[in-house]
Symmetry: C2
Subunit: 150 residues, 2 copies
DNA sequence: CCTTGATCTCAAGTGCGCTTGAGAAATTAC
DNA sequence: GTAATTTCTCAAGCGCACTTGAGATCAAGG
């Protein structure tokens, strides 16, 4: 089904099948500027194949916890009129790569802290700074500072 | 556990300062069973020190993307009437540890796929299965399968 | 005391990310 | 040429995680 000349592009149903997104979700993403399909004579949306990639990218970024607005911000750098080039995707990919690294770091730190605390048996003691961020840390801000600092 | 004899426990304001959560959020968590404070003569909530840990734990679990209901499910295993023991926290910690591992794995996989795709320059080609999960994969389900599979 | 600030309950509102009709028009399948 | 399916727009609704008043009560310092 690659760009059937008769149909001049992919329907929203095609995209739905290939991305797993509901048509309503795809239309919703359109309002956020993540895709910008053309219309055929009858007013129906017609998508380019590159839009599959756009949506896949948006889905991946969402799994990282990015809000749609921010995703749209990153994707605003992609060309609207032509299929994004390698350089286009590489730049965006690099941005996301940094976010991934940060997130992996944070989770790894949290895991290691958790391991350490379980190992030392301090979880039941009042002196554990991991689950008991009181007195010593009370003046340094709020929250479980040793566990989460991102 | 050693409640201040003068005040008989921590106020919601105390917890708010030490966890960084708004009082309204703490009350909201109460409706989900994450904390269960006692009341003083005047009807005000009085918390045990262990509740700081409960909230910290819930905040950590939330950063992992767990919905409150699920967090509450894990914490239901903790004793309501006494400060959780080392064994109590260790069990919960181990459950979370598994989630952390899975999440780190998923993110690492995504990052490596992204790296590979950037490296090979395939992002602009129709044959890239990472951002172009079409033909070959079209019969195997939906979504960006090589990027995200969790 | 008395005042100031913290806390109480309860209902309603917010922001995000969609979904769900309703009613109509376009497209496809037979 | 019909029938079935898909898509269209627009408004409203939903689930989650809270926040924001409103109006009243409680607690603590001078």
């Amino acid at each position: 089904m690659p760009l059937d000349p008769a149909r001049q592009g992919l329907t929203i149903g095609d995209l739905s099948e290939r991305t797993g997104l509901a048509p309503s979700a795809i239309r919703f993403y359109e309002t956020h500027g993540i895709v910008a399909p053309l219309r055929n004579a009858g007013g129906h949306r017609r998508y380019a194949r590159a839009d599959i990639r756009r949506l896949s990218f948006a889905m991946a970024a969402q799994k990282l916890g990015l809000p749609l607005a921010e995703i749209a911000g990153h994707m605003a750098g992609l060309p609207a009129d032509r299929a994004p080039s390698k350089a286009d995707w590489t730049r965006i990919g690099t941005e996301i790569r940094a976010l991934l690294d940060a997130r992996i770091d944070a989770l790894t730190r949290l895991r290691d802290n958790l391991d350490g605390c379980i190992g030392c048996g301090c979880l039941s003691m009042e002196t554990c700074t991991l689950w008991n961020p009181d007195d010593r840390l009370a003046t340094k801000g709020t929250g479980p500072r040793l566990v989460l600092r991102d």
